[in-house]
């Protein structure tokens, strides 16, 4: 249908609105399906269709994941006599894109709140993955209607019968109710749109009540400031309103209001059930937080929609510029990133080994990795990041309590108890790997909470695990032990007391704060031996012998020795060599400047980078077959 004749924002009856999202694993084809829907509804024509229109940031595109959600308004006309039996007529579909990763669970839950239905999109050759399952449970918890869909049914390796049965079991429907599409070829996508119209309940809200709209996303734009995405629940927002953020009471002038289709289209107002964007001129997404309720300043609502949570960092790491002169640049870059990332926190900190940097808080490992990548790529910084750690609560015998976000702050003195965060982890895997996964989880101090077969040969295992173990190398181990087939999801679930110790690494008797780690007592020796051996390889020989020790307090648990360098001279120096020699010396001098000094030991920054590179999950991409 032509966009001109489509229902106008602010004048759209809620009964013809359908708000839905797509829950899918990375690479299961969500973006392709979204593209196909944009084309079929005429919002984007074939020629203008950039592949994967919804993923805006390059970095997301490269990683094949969606970090920031978007919402697109699509008109859709259901023809008479359609096979799906949907009521003919013109509808407005709002497709709300959700972030797909474990670190962004809270954002996912807010996007889900803005919808009435979720399309559960699963690769017909691979079946459901742990993160998708976690998001499915979130959607079901939010009372969303679930529309199960198998994608990629054109693949020779597709096994629609098996996975339709799996989905039916999870969602509680019949296998024949599971739709089958190929987003790539377009097969079944029209039918899916009709099904969305048919199955998704229209939004319910009170049109003449004070306005209440849920913020489900908030994005900083260099030119326009913060763009806030909202779903109107009650009443309406008009472009003349002054609006109020209900969590803080802060009020803002509305500079612009509109819908996305697929670019921003200004509107005078948006009403019940509609999804749109607001621009107020604020420059920082923390002033327009996901989950907050927007109302009008005058005659506003008394009660918020509820469910707002302040995002708390779960993982901390120190970020340091390799070149100390870039400290100011790093600060500016973090300030800029924070404009678009309400969950990122940072505090300046000083490391004896690494100089001036920032202790940054992240929602999880992926969040950390994305942030570091962006700092290096978009801001051209060379960084050393310390090993990530979780937050520990240390009870001292004198009754005081210390919250440790950096191992080097681990208190001396008498400790009564250390508490560490715990996660509930869900692992989906072919059942062949049950044994090896159990072994790994046991090593990582996990305890099995339950196990279910999703199908004959696929199993869902539920564990509680210390989060500190997850941020160390759990994910890589899981992937390598299951040849990439297992997938993992976890959520924070309280804390527990544990027998933890701080292991220090000393060079020439000098502790190197960047290498200190809080580990379980039984893993301390292993960590010490591993680090000492790694550093022996990485630190170049000096003019003197350098002992490397790992110690718990004053007790040395592992040691290595870097022998003194014995030859550091270029033997030959004839007339034609002199310029070259001088330039080499200048290069070496510049190299010496970059060195981080631990006492008198010069350590190249690359050694820190390599020594601190714990295996981190980059994404769940390894899960592809």
């Amino acid at each position: 249908m032509s966009l001109k004749s489509a229902p106008k924002p602010g004048q759209t009856d809620p009964s013809i609105i359908r708000n839905f999202c797509i829950i899918a694993h990375i690479d299961h084809g969500k973006s392709t399906l979204a593209d196909r829907m944009l084309q079929l509804t005429g919002v984007v024509d074939e020629r203008a269709a950039r592949a994967q229109y919804l993923d805006r940031m390059d970095i997301e595109r490269e990683r094949g994941i969606t970090i920031k959600s978007q919402a697109v308004r699509m008109p859709w006309t259901v023809p008479g006599g359609n096979e799906q039996g949907a009521e003919p007529g013109t509808y407005v579909l709002n497709m709300i894109d959700t972030p797909g990763h474990v670190d962004f669970t809270y954002e996912v839950s807010r996007s889900l709140e803005a919808c009435e239905a979720a399309v559960l999109l699963v690769d017909a050759a691979q079946g459901i993955e742990a993160q998708t399952l976690a998001n499915l449970y979130l959607a079901m918890g939010a009372d969303l209607h679930i529309i199960p869909v198998l994608n990629k049914i054109d693949l020779p390796s597709a096994n629609p019968e098996k996975y339709a049965a799996e989905l039916a079991g999870l969602v509680g429907c019949e296998p024949e109710d599971v739709l089958q599409v190929s987003a790539k070829t377009g097969l079944g996508v029209e039918a899916l749109l009709n099904e969305i119209v048919k199955q998704t309940p229209p939004p319910e809200g009170v049109a003449d009540a004070p306005a209440r709209a849920l913020i489900f996303d908030s994005v900083y734009d260099t030119y326009r400031g913060v763009i806030t995405y909202v779903r109107v629940v009650d009443g309406e927002l008009t472009h003349r309103d002054r609006i109020k953020m209900m969590s803080t009471g802060a009020t803002h002038e509305l500079l612009e209001l509109g819908v996305i289709s697929p670019e921003q289209v200004k509107a005078d107002k948006i009403g019940v059930g509609e999804v749109g964007y607001l621009i107020t001129g604020v420059k920082d997404v923390r002033q327009s937080r996901v989950g907050d309720t927007v109302t009008t300043q005058h005659h506003g609502a008394e009660e918020s929609l509820g469910g707002y949570k302040h995002p708390n960092p779960m993982v901390y790491a120190g970020l340091y510029p390799i070149d100390g002169d870039q400290f100011g640049d790093l600060r500016e870059a973090l300030e800029k990133l924070q404009l678009n990332d309400a969950a990122l926190t940072y505090e300046p900190e000083t490391s004896g080994a690494l100089g001036f940097g920032f202790r940054c808080g992240f929602l999880g490992l992926l969040h950390m990795e994305i942030t570091r990548d962006r700092l290096e790529r978009e801001f051209d910084l060379d960084l050393i990041s310390t090993a990530p750690n979780v937050v520990y609560e240390v009870q001292m015998e004198d009754g005081s309590e210390v919250v440790v976000t950096n191992p080097s702050e681990y208190p001396e003195g008498k400790i009564a108890e250390v508490r560490e965060p715990v996660v509930k982890a869900t692992i989906l895997s072919p059942s062949d790997y049950i044994g090896t996964i159990m072994e790994l989880c046991q090593q990582k101090r996990g305890s099995l909470q339950g196990m279910d077969y999703l199908s004959e040969d696929r199993v869902e295992m539920r564990y509680t695990l210390p989060m500190g173990e997850i941020v160390f190398d759990f994910f890589d181990q899981l992937k390598s032990r299951t040849k990439g087939y297992a997938s993992l999801d976890y959520e924070r679930s309280g804390e527990q007391a544990a027998d933890l110790v701080k292991v220090d690494i000393l060079l020439q008797g000098e502790p190197v704060d960047a290498f200190s780690a809080i580990v379980h007592r039984e893993a301390a020796y292993g960590y010490g031996v591993m680090m000492a051996a790694k550093l022996k390889e990485l630190i170049p020989r000096q003019q003197f012998e350098v002992p490397i020790q790992a110690a718990i307090g004053a007790r040395v648990i592992a040691r290595e020795n870097i022998r003194a360098i014995r030859k550091d001279v270029l033997a030959k120096c004839y007339g034609g060599d002199i310029s070259r020699k001088r330039k080499l010396l200048e290069k070496q001098k510049a190299g010496k400047k970059r060195m981080k000094n631990i006492g008198t030991v010069e350590v190249p920054p690359e050694a820190f980078v390599a020594a601190l590179a714990t295996s981190q999950p980059s994404t769940d991409k390894a899960g592809k077959k």
């Binding site: 003019q543 003197f544 360098i565 550091d568 033997a571 007339g575 010396l585």
Partner: protein, 406 residues
């Protein structure tokens, strides 16, 4: 391919020097280096600017027969460029390449040009490098008669498998014979070049080479650790894993062994890699390089230095010949050294010498680093000079970096 030339500014076509380079020149000693860019075969470790007949092919005027004339033409150019600053030459050094691939008459003609254009000091040191393979008894006599005073043989090793790895073709037995001929021809100063640390060379092999060298009673020995220069065949073989990377500890042991043997044989180090029997056996030409004197380098790829201006000639013999034939300077690029550059060079060169680096050459701030290197036993303070210890010689580059640290 031969080593790359440094980056610099283009040199003027007539080779002229900035006035600053010539100020006070006549009070500074002048040396001449004559490059002979030819070898019968290329050794796998060598990155010098030298060419085999097959590499040269038929490109331009690159025949060995016309090379001496080109070199003579550059000596004349030197005379013109130096003008008032031209003066008697203290040392001449013919290097390569393989100078003795040219007939002795050519080497004599090149030396003759230096003598007639610039003048040669009565006690001038005139050295030629020589391949033990390509010298004859008569040829050596010719050179001595024509005024050559010193000869340096590229011995490298006395162990056949080491020579083979280095692609050296000579029979180790040629070395004592060549030395004998040189003595018979009247050369009072005979030097042998050795290389240690060749992949596959054991400590015992190195000992064998040192003993063999000393058996010829040389007046001077240069012992260089093998450097795997990028771009050489050796570097490729190491990269492919066919040969092991030279091990620094092994090189250090071999250096100490060399120093021990050479000192026991009555020689003394006067530069990190050079030992001499008597003060007059030291290579004055090299000492002039290391003391920052003026020198004119003649030949393709040769470097020159006059009063803080360093330049280098075009590398290829054909390009070199063409420049000179057109009456232009063969200089390709140059750099005018800043005060800071000259300071750095002075410290890094003079600290390598037995005579040491005068303390006054260091800034006050740099002098603050002296007690540290002295305390670690790397440097001795002898009066007002800093002299490397044995351990310090092995770590000379580190000591220089430490003293120059800013």
């Amino acid at each position: 391919m031969p080593s790359a030339l440094p980056d610099g500014e283009p040199a003027p076509e007539d080779g002229s020097l900035p006035a600053s380079a010539l100020v006070g020149a006549t009070s500074r000693p002048l040396a001449v280096y004559l490059h002979v860019p030819f070898c019968r075969v290329r050794c796998g470790y060598c990155d010098f600017n030298t060419y085999t007949p097959s590499e040269l092919g038929d490109v331009g005027d690159t025949s060995m027969a016309s090379y001496a004339d080109q070199a003579v033409a550059e000596v004349r150019l030197a005379r013109r460029v130096l003008g008032e600053a031209a003066r008697e030459v203290r040392t001449v050094f013919v290097g390569g390449g393989t100078p003795t691939l040219l007939p002795p008459a050519d080497l004599v003609a090149m030396l003759g040009a230096v003598r007639s254009e610039l003048g040669l000091a009565p006690d001038a040191e005139v050295t030629t490098e020589a391949n033990p393979d390509s010298v004859t008894r008569d040829g050596l006599a010719r050179l001595r008669e024509a005024g050559f005073t010193r000869i340096s043989f590229g011995m490298q090793s006395a162990v056949p498998h080491v020579l083979a790895t280095l692609d050296r073709t000579h029979d180790p037995a040629r070395v004592p014979l060549a030395v004998e001929w040189a003595r018979a021809a009247g050369f009072d100063e005979v030097s042998l070049d050795l290389i240690y640390g060749t992949p596959g060379e054991s400590q015992a092999d190195w000992e064998t080479s040192l003993d063999a060298a000393l058996a010829s009673s040389p007046d001077h020995v240069s012992a260089y650790s093998l450097i795997v220069e990028p771009g050489t065949a050796l570097a490729r073989r190491v990269r492919r894993g066919e040969l092991p990377v030279p091990d620094d500890d092994d090189l250090a042991d071999k250096y100490l062994l060399a120093d021990e043997r050479l000192v026991a044989a009555g020689m003394e180090w006067y530069e990190v890699s050079n030992w001499a029997r008597r003060p007059q056996s030291r290579c004055l030409h090299n000492l002039l390089y290391w003391r920052g004197a003026d020198w004119w380098g003649v030949g393709p790829g040769a470097h020159s230095h006059v009063g803080g201006v360093r330049w280098w000639n075009v590398k290829h013999p054909a390009a070199y010949a063409a420049r000179l034939a057109a009456g232009a300077s063969p200089a390709h690029g140059r750099e005018v050294l800043s005060d800071e550059d000259r300071h750095v060079e002075r410290v890094l060169l003079e600290l390598r010498l037995r005579e040491g680096l005068p303390l006054v050459a260091l800034s006050e701030r740099e002098r603050a680093g002296v007690p540290g290197v002295v305390a670690r036993g790397l440097v001795l303070q002898e009066g007002d000079r800093l002299v490397l210890t044995r351990e310090g010689r092995l770590l000379a580059d580190g000591v220089v970096r430490e003293l120059l640290a800013d």
